[in-house]
Symmetry: C2
Subunit: 337 residues, 2 copies
């Protein structure tokens, strides 16, 4: 009825059962040579029968390895990146402790989390697209524990896995230019956010490179609400534009709403491109042209890299780069002019 408090079998239990020493059992469990075949199979049967599994705490105490990773999240729209990280963590044999911290990241907040967990984790993953903490800060905070940063600055010297926001944004803007648009407005993400800033800068530069004026812009915070408000600000300037590049899909949803309310048709009056390709983007009104990011690959690469650094401290510090991909739907069309 109540909690039976089931007692886990230990090495000694198995040893007593079979009539050998715990060391012999240990050798069988850990696939060491020098155990007689007959002994080995007897031990294996007992292990099976008593459902022996090495006690993680004891293992942790002697080896210093816990097979637990910690994921520290600072992102708003993190939820799309999470499943792949969890999945690949398991795939590599690690459990993942997830911690969410307030934006912006501070050394103090990270320190206070790590005080509680640092002793029981093998490595850290920071989902932290912000410039507030650099490599030295993190190295210091992690006290020698391996870490990998997901979504940091393209070109950063940290051990990291990132999407190439620069070329991603370029693809988005090029798509609009190729369609003949000359007045391309922008709703950027927050400029203290690496992705937001990089996408904004790319918009600015590629417009300039094409002899266009990168001036009609407003900065949001990636929320649907800010997308709505920024679109309002842009419309309030009463300057003509036939295309709008939005820093992420969520803001694009807010922007679509504001444009509709202003009586503008998408894409006939304004072509809109988003960024991320969140699952619902294909169901916006109209379905959104956007930049897809392969979060599955992001999770896999992040875990793989972190685990390899845990296994061997000499794995070089590098940045692994993934590339976004343009997905054309119904929110963009040829400029009728």
């Amino acid at each position: 009825m109540a909690h039976p408090q089931i007692k886990q079998a230990t090495l000694r239990d198995i040893a007593d059962e079979v009539g050998v020493s715990y060391q012999t059992v240990w050798r069988v469990v850990n696939d060491h040579p020098n155990v007689a075949k007959a002994t080995r199979s007897r031990v294996q049967r007992a292990v099976e029968e008593l459902d022996y599994r090495p006690h993680r705490a004891a293992q942790m105490l002697t080896t210093g390895r816990s097979y637990i990773l910690q994921l520290v999240i600072f992102e708003y729209g993190h939820s799309d990146r999470l499943p792949a990280i969890l999945h690949w963590g398991r795939e590599y044999g690690y459990s993942i402790i997830v911690t969410e911290l307030e934006v912006p990241p501070t050394a103090a907040s990270v320190r206070s989390v790590l005080r509680e967990t640092s002793q029981m984790i093998d490595g850290l993953l920071f989902l932290m697209p912000y410039p507030h903490l650099n490599y030295d800060d993190l190295s210091d905070l992690c006290q020698g524990r391996p870490f990998v940063v997901v979504n940091t600055k393209l070109g950063s010297k940290m051990p990291s896995v990132v999407f190439d926001q620069w070329n991603g944004a370029r693809s988005a803007v090029s798509h609009l230019i190729d369609l003949g648009h000359r007045e391309i407005a922008e709703i950027s993400g927050p400029l203290d956010h690496f992705d937001g800033a990089m996408r904004h800068r790319a918009w600015e530069v590629f417009l300039g490179n094409n002899g266009l004026e990168p001036s009609l812009t407003a900065a949001g915070d990636f929320s649907v609400c800010s997308g709505y408000l920024c679109a309002g600000q842009i419309l309030a300037q009463k300057r003509p534009f036939t295309a709008l590049f939005v820093g992420n899909d969520t803001m694009a949803l807010g922007a679509l709403r504001a444009l509709h309310e202003a009586g503008l048709r998408i894409p006939q009056d304004v072509s809109v491109v988003g960024f991320d390709d969140i699952p619902i983007a294909a169901y916006f009104d109209p379905p959104l042209t956007t930049m897809r990011q392969d979060f599955e690959a992001l999770g896999r690469e992040s875990i793989e890299y972190l685990v390899s650094r845990i296994g061997n401290l000499d794995v070089p510090i590098q940045q692994r780069v993934l590339y976004p991909e343009l997905v054309i739907r119904k929110s963009t069309q040829q400029n009728p002019v």
Copy 2:
């Protein structure tokens, strides 16, 4: 440069530093009486200086407590429930290992996760709105470790925390009836999902109670895509309806799109009510009338209940119920008839 592999101070290190026994240090750290004031403060200074913290693995080995919980997720739209759970876990001093499993839940899949983690966690939280595993199954799988189920069936005998979907759905439907609607269609969630089924059943019953015909319905799977398709199915029946109750906001988004494409105006031609009040619901076209669920409270209650069960196995098995709340926006209006 490389990993300095910083050595954590132990009880003995502090003891040697101060010139007392490890036991005395232990007493100071654990706030036990019977330590001379002078000794206590000398020890405290050394603890401070060497940044001593009890080694979690060793603590775990002797006490059997890890201060780690495991959250097992089976939900599609789990992302809105997660932050509050993580937050309140920390608040109560627990780290949380998050694991995502495929729907539907099976004993085998849960067992395989617990094989890896069960030895190092103090309790489990199942986010599992499915009937596949009952109390006995879970008790068996958890082997006496305390657990709490989030989002299970209203009225279930499991230790659980749930929203009252029945009264929530009744509020939504009543709102439509109060507005004078007589033909109320429905897009339900999956019927093997507790929330989906309960909301559907409530729609059915309350329409019947009001002398209305609960026949125009289609079942989706909570995805935006299914919302779009189900709306199409309903429209294809060419039967009149002036209101639509949708099983969650995400499907409502898909449905809005389908209704728009069919040339129907919201709310002039059709009033729409969703469920969940996800953050973007206020930015749909039009802003969605929906049922809000307080996920913050859900997280707090779940953690509080689980932690109390960990502390005292005699805490009674109960179901804690939270109530959704109607949020009226622009997608519903008086039936013009």
